[in-house]
Symmetry: D3
Subunit: 310 residues, 6 copies
């Protein structure tokens, strides 16, 4: 798949992800990148609705070859910008259905969906669609929060703090196959991780990453993933606010950008079936610091896929 | 011409000007909006290269009907986003040639070019192309500066401070047919306006607008324009930095946003053959204040055209 | 009602509106200021959920005596900070019910509610509660938009673009008693004002204010209000983005800050029964420009009440 | 007096005011511009200590000829950047003495001092030095606040809210010769203007300027000034926060930039003996909007002097 | 001690630290958090006066349970927001006396004071009050600067660069019991650390932390603290500007957020008698990056106390 | 060489680098710091033209003694602020000639040039001048990009992406003596490093630095430098955007500030003959985070020189 040249890009004055061809219905594709401009599930700082637009802009700076893993990503993969999912901004349930349907269509055409949110609530319909196709998933969730809250906290059961409780209890994620990395936000009580532990999840704090090192952590994660269909759910608040100021619910003391990038890269060889990148609130970003990291993380995920599809 | 609906726009996740169809080669069009991402002619704050991109984003908020003059702009006019002119970012002469050629093509197809810069140096090739087609122009230049400098000031004769000296001396603008509105920046010497006055230009300061009122000023301008082919060149620094902080060379004490909008609107009935909107430096903007005004000014220009092409 | 002294305020380190006493259940009060941290009805730039918090902060700078109309506002009026209405952030219908109930309680205690939103959708439950008490209202709506959309635009009938259609059709606002001031955003079609005109509303653009002057406009508005119970609904986007950058849906060419303040002040003598201040998105504000104006507008409204309750 | 050329300025990489020669002890000068990096008298938003530095930067953009009044300012006047007054940042009394001494030296050399603060408390020592030389002053104070507070408000008698009480009671300002323009901030009680009115001052609000117009207001001010030695004290908060966001104590509803500039310009013909420009807090500014206006206002003051010294 | 629920917090619309009960005179408390809105001791970027207000806002996001050390902080400790100390903004000596008196009262009631500045000069009266109660202190000072300057540097002996010279020479800190961590700013001369070394202080640079690791450094610090009453003085400029941009005197090359948090956490088991958090200048912060870290650091300090008071 | 005291600095109100004496023609000097306000070679975010000005401002905070390496930098070295090179902003070839000439003059006087850009294209004339004096150079290039592009990418052979291709092919840099550190941006194709590898350059990614550690990397670099004349070319985008947001072409995953500072420091003992610091775009910076790091890096380079010139 050829990116536009810089000149072509300048010529058109518009920005599909990574300057890729835009098509809502590509005939054949290895991967399709979708935007989901939806942030009605945010409890604190809203604005993730604008992230797909801004990530397109910033991703246009990136070229095809990843020198860190020596792979020509868009040389190996047919990737399309699939446009945005048309959500119902005032109806979360309907939006979830629309997202699931759209993702299912992409999967049905044999492509791997890469989804740029939007808030973290959009991960649930994406994972549901993937489970329907591939069976129970292994999930690596980068996050400062467990996101396994129940309906009591905010008087509602479907917002950006609940998707992984649903995914675990619905069997979308296989038992023991959820790794939660970067967890560090304070809890309302000591039992807040009981739910996820009941499903034998691997809960890793940012301090764990510092103390054990990226290699050891990556190895522990891969043990959980094994040969299962892998979904990466990347909430940018897993990363420290210094590296990702523009997020919905920042928490000090997170991953560094290099740790985040290397941990995604370390999943090379796994059977990646989908990825999301969520919770970027562009109007809290500065000088595109968060967006640059987001674009690079998405590129890392595509490189993981590219290395599989040689 | 139908804009995309909001839903269609969200679906595609990209932004042509005003959500219009994008086509570099529309078969028939009343107007074509071009971006020129070029700011190699800026002497102070650079960044206008990003203005076409950002103005597309902000213009997407606007609808088709202008309630102030009661006209359905995109109902009356076929307008396309013609993409960006592919400039040579490191070669000003070549860029000018590329701009002139591209604009000439648009004109040749019978469409009126609306050009979003870029710095003010891009106005010269646009005006040259228009003169070649329509003969000597009347020009209404909104600006804090005369832009009639010579090559001594910066050791160069083709930057954003010189286009109107060339346009006057080359006969691109008809004698007595240049109105310069918003002029107020300090001059290096008392004779700085001698050049433009030699061509019998109308030089109006922002204070003149306040003292005489919009109606009287508009009438004085129209007297200069008469039935000549009219080009509007809108440098956003004509407007006060409160209303347009994101410009290359701001000067306190400028036009208000309402004065600017009403002065463009007052050109209804004139034979508009082209318009530019230049010198927006988006990274100096705040909360899109400058960009919102820019999009509205462009819309006013289109409404002037729409009222003529009933 | 005594404000805290600056020293008392510094001592407590917290900020009720205007340093007033905070009480959710004041025994007797002339006015109660409520915050409504709700922005689930926003179609463009979210963030108004934070406006009550930030307006409290900025309002702490203000003293009791209004030199422009010569009235000691908090000397004449008992005013309390009634806290925020506890809304359901993920349920618009329930939130509307909670707002209406809370406002009804305030009214029932004989106090005039001043409500700081939040997005414009919160105005409907406030107006409903007031109508239930006082009968059909006269409403002066400051706004760039008519806010009389129907459910088709965004696939939903209750967001920040619809409250005045409901208020008119439900008879909350008396026929001929709605004045809409600052209207200027582009419309999707020429008939967009048909609905409000069917109710004989007075629609005034920002240009009308410039052309006719504040005194004449104020007089036209008062003719509509007469001795009816008056509700002021102030959407900050009525004001130009230069004076109010931090709003949800900015539109260039709006009112100046002085026009806005003077138009509210000109309602002195009317039977003010309530006021809202909505659509401030603080994270798009700069140097508190929007918030400063918001606090002053709220103070103007209180001064209107104070002049009545001598 | 010749400014550096742009090339010379770029060559040196440093910024005296208006690219003028820098000299703390010029042999002969018509005017000396001094910076006073002192903000220990600020009650709200600090930072004016950085204003002299930043105003130097922004003033470098300005040329010598003022087209509005047709005068070549630096052609007529010998003006030097006198550097900053070395204040004692932790000792207000000592700082006041240092300022007064430095200004007295400038005056003693026959030059008119233009002083860039710093907060408004620095105006008192400047005015004292001028009175010692020229006798009782006429003062035009642009301000949102009266600045005649006593020691009770903040438990201290010498901060940025008190200089004009001292100046009036000490006889620094002649009875009836103080004009306060832009006054509008709320007062703690109705008698807050009693003090200044006891000295027969002229108190004009920003609304007065709008209602009566610049010409009428200017004429009323000049009646107070007459042929007395005139001091202009310009607190940027006189101007609306839209035009001057970067100030210490902003108040909505102020002067426009054009009104401010024209009111200073209207003092041409008066016997200007000094001017200050205070209360700019650069880190609250955006895109240099406030600083641009400040530089232009300083230039207007110099132009007033230049017109006298033909 | 129960925090407000999120709903209660939203209801009240105000923000005590961590949503705790606010009381200036709690009957019994394990800890009291005080704000000190005082920055008259700052030599470079002012604004720390606003830090207590903004830190309250950001701390409201935090819950009770610290997953990193497995302790329910507000379950174990009675903590109150004690409001702000009423300082004399224009009198440093009086302010110091007021701070010392207020802290002494808190200590007298058996509570541990946590003090949110304000600039670093406020640490001295806090430490004095603690020494009067507990005897000579051990102090862990996180800082980029030694803060042991004398009166010559700025012509004054009591500003934010001098508190630890006074504390050492007055015997407030025990000999050998001061650990200074993060030290790296350039010195005016090679002997700048002579003073602190004369008292056998432990001076550790940020590079030391990187080279030796957090565990080793923590162990070296604890050797100095031993069983002495421990005071933590946390100047946010100890941390790198990437993690803490909003400080008064930033220095590149500082601690990471994780190092800072882990170093405080490593003091668990020590006899913590007080803590401050100083030098946050909120208007230089972005997206609350600095404030988020500050709130987390304060929470770490409370967790140290909570682990002792099981 | 004595810096100004803080008082002297405040007195003059201007800012030479590090408060050093400013002289374009110092009689004798160990080092001269030059600004090059030139960014006409930038392909993405412009603005480096303002970096010399802003770096002067921020460097004024720094003192003479470097505690990390125990050297009194300005005690040992005579250093002058040599002002800015007067470039031709619209002529890249002429500007390169002017830079080379000016640097050659500095070298001819026996001083080591420290050059603050400006974009990276300015490094080529600096290196050429140094090679002419000292013979083939060793170069340590800190960068996210190889900067060895050819003329095809942007239709031009002399912009900020090409200097090291010219330097290698012209023999300015000795074979095997180029170390490129921080390299990580995506490439257009897999052979992008072929050119530099043909010259046996050492290419090190930011991940390499994390994995191998600063000591090991420094040792590998020094092996390439040996006793050759050493030039350090520091493009701030080598550093992660968290630590250096204000750069022209940011790339996530870069060096930390401490790694960058320590890697420069580790060059002590080498024969440093020149250094540049380029690609800072101040208007994309926040709270001077990037500038603070830049000033510290420049100071590290001066300290390397100072340790040699004992």
């Amino acid at each position: 798949m050829k990116q536009q040249s810089a000149a072509e890009y300048i010529h058109h004055g518009q920005t599909p992800f990574f300057r890729l061809p835009a098509s809502t219905t590509p005939e054949s594709a290895d991967a399709v990148i979708l935007g989901v401009p939806f942030d009605a599930g945010v409890t604190y700082r809203p604005g993730a609705r604008f992230a797909p637009y801004e990530l397109r802009r910033v991703s246009a700076l990136m070229q095809s070859f990843h020198p860190g893993c020596g792979v020509d990503v868009f040389g190996r993969l047919e990737v399309y910008d699939g446009g945005n999912v048309t959500v119902a901004p005032f109806d979360r349930a309907q939006s979830a259905a629309l997202i699931e349907h759209r993702v299912a269509t992409v999967i049905g055409q044999g492509a791997v969906p890469f989804v740029v949110g939007g808030d973290h609530s959009i991960a649930l319909p994406v994972m549901r669609a993937l489970r329907d196709r591939h069976g129970e998933l292994a999930v690596v969730q980068f996050d400062a929060h467990l996101d396994t809250s129940d309906g009591e906290t905010w008087g509602d059961d479907h917002h950006h703090g609940t998707p992984f409780r649903h995914a675990l209890s619905e069997g979308v994620i296989a038992r023991g196959a959820l790794a939660q990395v970067g967890i560090r936000a304070s809890w309302s009580h000591g039992g807040e991780a009981d739910f996820t532990r009941r499903y034998d999840s691997l809960v890793l704090s940012a301090d764990d990453v510092e103390e054990r090192g990226v290699r050891d952590i990556a190895s522990a994660i891969r043990e959980r993933v094994r040969d299962r269909p892998l979904y990466i759910s990347f909430d940018l608040d897993a990363v420290d606010p210094a590296f990702a100021p523009g997020v919905g619910t920042p928490v000090a003391g997170g991953l560094t950008s290099r740790e985040a990038l290397r941990l995604v890269r370390a999943l090379a060889g796994c059977n990646l079936v989908g990825m999301d990148l969520v919770e970027i609130a562009p109007h809290y970003d500065h000088a595109d610091v968060t967006l640059q990291l987001g674009a690079q993380l998405l590129f890392e995920g595509l490189a993981v896929l590219a290395q599989r599809r040689r």
